[in-house]
Amino acid sequence: MNITNPNSQHTHHDDHHHEEDKKNLFGFWLYIMTDCILFAMIFAAYIVLHKNTFGGASAHELFSMPFVLTETMILLTSSFTYGLVMLSAHKNQTKMVLLWLFITFILGVVFIGMEIHEFTNLYNEGHGWDKSAFLSSFFTLVGTHGLHVTSGLIWMCALMGQVMVHGITKKTINKLACLSLFWHFLDIVWIFVFTIVYLMGAI
């Protein structure tokens, strides 16, 4: 991979489209900021309610730490591989973009698979969302993050199709950049889920 000059293939369009792309990304950034507020509210609800276990199991007894660490590592790695998607896109390497997108997608699917596994295990062992305020807020918080990741995966599929059909153009790069913001944002949210739900639960 040529890393000497990532901007070498970066052809500048006319200013009008350029400005529009910038506005698109800024608008998407603002959407992500409002999504932060959504997560802040769910985090606040979890922090307030997490001790109300209604006689049931607490965070300390429920979660398997090595399992959660694996999930975290997978999501961190997928964030890194998405970075490689953007680097390849700016170098006009369509095949590398598709390859890294695919690897990111697989890592995302494994993450969601592990989360579904954790949720079904908890439910089957009698720790469903209807058992206590703690479990309701836990499923809401982790589930909302999982739904975001799932929609990110659907979006990723759509973008793989677009890159296959149209190749790397200004438009597809702009769309890839939006998803990159979304994907890194989900990674950051997960860091706080990992810290506040799992690590603090295990203390």
Binding site: M1, I3, P6, D15, H18, E19, K22, K23, L25, F26, W29, L30, M33, C36, I37, A40, M41, F43, A44, A45, I47, V48, M65, L69, T72, M73, L76, T77, S79, F80, G83, L84, M86, L87, H90, A177, L181, H184, F185, D187, I188, I191, F192, F194, T195, I196, L199, M200, A202, I203
Partner: protein, 111 residues
């Protein structure tokens, strides 16, 4: 708010280099493993552990914003940063405000 700026700065266009992504990746893995180790080995007292893992989460957040999101680079980045800072202020008020109010409510009902 005027976002029709005429300068053609690298607004989001600074997409980093391979080196910056690798540094970010290694740092974020390290910043995940250290708090995990502290918590699972019960190496420190409980208040210290809480303080440390929160500190590591905040550091991790900064690392990811700088090395992965690249929103703080380029000439037009001030709007991104302004939106981010405003969001963080609202977020902290929401979370710590809720904790404060609910703790007091709980205390007053129980005593």
């Amino acid at each position: 708010m005027n976002i029709n700026t005429t300068n053609h700065g690298a607004h989001f266009e600074s997409h980093g280099s391979l080196k910056s992504y690798i540094i970010g990746f290694i740092l974020s893995i390290t910043l995940t493993l250290i708090p995990y180790y502290i918590v699972t080995t019960h190496a420190m007292s409980i208040p210290t552990t809480y303080a440390l893992i929160l500190l590591f989460a905040v550091l991790q957040f900064i690392i990811q914003v700088v090395f992965f999101l690249h929103v703080t680079e380029g000439q037009d980045s001030k709007w991104n940063i302004m939106a981010l800072v405003f969001t963080i202020v609202v977020l902290l008020i929401l979370v710590f405000g809720s904790m404060w109010i609910m703790y007091n409510l709980d205390y007053n009902m129980m005593h």
